[in-house]
Symmetry: C2
Subunit: 343 residues, 2 copies
C-alpha cells in the first residue's frame, strides 16, 4: 500500500475501500497520557514550533489507536501568531488576543503570511510524513469566520456579539477582514501541502452560530477563496464546523471535497443536504464514548448504517475528542469500525 492508495484517501475520493477509514478530530493531544508527558512544561504555542515534538505528538494516536490518518499537531492560531499578532493560548480558556481587532486601522496588524514565517511547520510536516510511512497526514487551518471571531472578540466567545456587530454593522470592514484571513489560511495550507500533507481540513469551528443567509453572504466567499487557492494541489479538502446542520450544503458549495458532519444530523440526511459529488466525514457524538462499550458500538453501528449508501465515508466523531475520554475507548472504537466494515 502507498499513501495514495490508503483507505482514507480512497474514501475522500469516493473510491471503494477495504474498510471504512477512521480518524478522530483532536486525536493528537488532550486525552492521551503520553501527550501530557511529552508536553510537560512546554506552553501550547511553543510546542507547535518544535518539529520533533510535533512529530512525536502527531504519531502518538496512530501508534496507540491504529487510526487511518494522522492530523498534524498544531493550532488554528499558529499562522496569526506567526505574522506577529499578540496572542496566547491559555490552558482551560483557549486563544486570547491582547488587542482585539475592531477598526480599519487594526487590519494593518494582519499582514500576509510568508512561508518563512512558519518554516517550523514545514519542517514538522516533512519529518512527520517520513515517519508515517503509508499513513496519510492531514494538514489544517482555521476558516476565516472562526479566526475573525477570535480576533474581534479577543478570545473564545459563546455569542460572538462583537463579531456579528461588525458583520452586520460594518460589512465592508468585515469583508476585508475575512478576505485577509482567507489569504492567511490559504498560505498556511499551501505550506503544509507543499511539505507533504495528503489532505487538508478547514475548521470553521464557530460557523454554526450563523444563519444560512448570513453565512452565504458574509462568510462563504472568504472560505471559498481558501479552497480555491489550494485546489491546484489536488489533495482532498475537508470542511467542518460543529452545529452546522443548516449549512451543510453551503459548506460543500464553498469548495470542499469532503464535508464533516456533527452528530445532530444523520449521515444519510446530511448526504441529501450536501448533494452529490462529495464524501462525508463523521459523525459519532463524542459524548457517547463515556458510555459502556456495548452502547458505543451500538451508536457506531447506527452511524455506519446511515453511511451505508454514501459513495465515500470517513468515520470520525461529530466533534473533537473530549478531554476526559478514556483512550482505550477510542482504540476499541477504531477496531470495531474496521471489523464491521472489512471485506
Amino acid at each position: 500500500m502507498t499513501v495514495t492508495d490508503s483507505p482514507f484517501l480512497k474514501a475522500c475520493r469516493r473510491e471503494p475501500v477495504p474498510h471504512t477509514p477512521v480518524w478522530f478530530m483532536r486525536q493528537a493531544g488532550r486525552s492521551l497520557p503520553e501527550y501530557r508527558k511529552a508536553r510537560e512544561g512546554i506552553a501550547m504555542l511553543d510546542s507547535c514550533t518544535r518539529p520533533e515534538l510535533v512529530t512525536e505528538i502527531t504519531l502518538q494516536p496512530v501508534r496507540r489507536h491504529g487510526v487511518d490518518a494522522a492530523i498534524l499537531f498544531s493550532d488554528i492560531v499558529v499562522p496569526l501568531k506567526a505574522i506577529g499578532v499578540d496572542l496566547d493560548i491559555k490552558p482551560g480558556v483557549g486563544p486570547v488576543i491582547a488587542e482585539p481587532i475592531r477598526t480599519r486601522a487594526d487590519l494593518a496588524r494582519l499582514r500576509p503570511l510568508d512561508p518563512a514565517d512558519v518554516s517550523y511547520v514545514a519542517e514538522a510536516v516533512r519529518g512527520t510524513v517520513a515517519e508515517l510511512g503509508d499513513v496519510p497526514l492531514i494538514g489544517f487551518a482555521g476558516a476565516p469566520f472562526t479566526l475573525a471571531s477570535y480576533l474581534v472578540e479577543g478570545g473564545p466567545s459563546r455569542n460572538h456579539e462583537h463579531t456579528k456587530a461588525m458583520m452586520y454593522g460594518a460589512p465592508e470592514l468585515w469583508a476585508e477582514l475575512v478576505d485577509r484571513l482567507a489569504g492567511i489560511a490559504a498560505a498556511f495550507l499551501s505550506v503544509q501541502i507543499e511539505s507533504g500533507v495528503s489532505a487538508v481540513q478547514l475548521f470553521d469551528s464557530w460557523a454554526g452560530a450563523l444563519a444560512p443567509a448570513d453565512y452565504r453572504r458574509a462568510v462563504l466567499p472568504a472560505s471559498a477563496k481558501v479552497f480555491s487557492a489550494v485546489a491546484h494541489h489536488g489533495v482532498p479538502r475537508i470542511h467542518f464546523g460543529v452545529g452546522t446542520g443548516e449549512l451543510l450544503g453551503l459548506l460543500g458549495e464553498a469548495g470542499a471535497d469532503v464535508v464533516g458532519v456533527d452528530w445532530r444530523v444523520p449521515l444519510d440526511e446530511a448526504a441529501r443536504r450536501v448533494g452529490p459529488g462529495k464524501a462525508l466525514q463523521g459523525n459519532l457524538d463524542p459524548a457517547v464514548l463515556f458510555a459502556p462499550t456495548a452502547a458505543v458500538q451500538e451508536q457506531a453501528d447506527e452511524v455506519l448504517a446511515a453511511a451505508r449508501d454514501l459513495p465515500g465515508h470517513v468515520f470520525n466523531l461529530g466533534h473533537g475528542v473530549l478531554p476526559d475520554t478514556d483512550p482505550d475507548a477510542l482504540t476499541r472504537l477504531v477496531a470495531h469500525v474496521h471489523e464491521r466494515t472489512a471485506g
Copy 2:
C-alpha cells in the same frame, strides 16, 4: 382589551392580530439597570422566593419596553430547590448541584413537587397578574432533559458527557429520572397556571445537544408527559430549545401549541418542519442587537418577512437577551416590530 384578547394570546391561538406581539426571553433581569438595583445584595434563588420582588422585576421590562407579554421572574431550578435538592445559582456560572445524581439510589432525592413547596411562586403570580392588567403573564419550567443534565453533570455542561453516558448506558435509570422530572415540571407549571398565568413555556435549553433519534427515544416521552399534564387548563404551551433546528418537528410533536425557533432556521423553513396547526415564536439573533439600529431593523424585517405567511407569529429573539445588551436597543426593536406590522 382583555388579557384573552391580547395580541400575544391571539397569535398563540393563530388568530388575526392588530400587530405582531413581541416579548424577549430573559427580558426580566440581566440587561436592565433597574433589575440590578432591585436585586442588589439578594442572591438569585432568594429573590425568586420574594413575591413582591418577583412582581417588580417581572414588570420592569413591560414598563420599559412595552412588550406584549411578561414572563415570570424565576429560574428552572426553583422547583428542584423547593423539593430539597442541595443546589445554588453561582453568578457567572449557573446552577451548581452539591451532589450530582448518578445512581438509582440518588433518585430518592427527587420527590414529587407539592404546590405548598412553592407557595411563594403562586403568590408572586397572583400579585403580578393583578398589576399587569391586560398584559398576559407567561409561566415556565425547565424540560426534563435540561433539568436532568444539570442534576447529572452537577452544573452547566458543554458536552453533557455524564448525562449521555446514563442515557445510552443505563436507559432504564435514565427513563425513570426524566419521568420524575416530568412530574415535577408539570406540577410547577400547574401551580403557575392555577395562580393565573395565561401561557406557559417549557425551556429545553440543552435539547439541541441531541440527535433527533435520541431525542425521540429518550426525551420526547418525558416532555410530552409535561405538556399533556397541563393540557386541560387550555392555556397556550410554548416549547423552546436553542440549536434545535433538527428537532423542530419533534418539539411540536411533544405537545406544544407554539414552537420557539432559534435564529439558525428561517421561520418559513421552520414552519415546514413543524407542520400545520402550530404557531411559531422567534427568531432574531440576540447578537444582532449589538449592531447599529439600521442593521437591527433590517434583520428584524427579514424575520418578519419570513413570518409573513405564518398563521401565528410571536416575535422574540432566537435565544435569551445577552447580558451586555443595550436596553434601549430592545425598546426600539419592540416599537419597530409594532410599527411594521400594525394595520
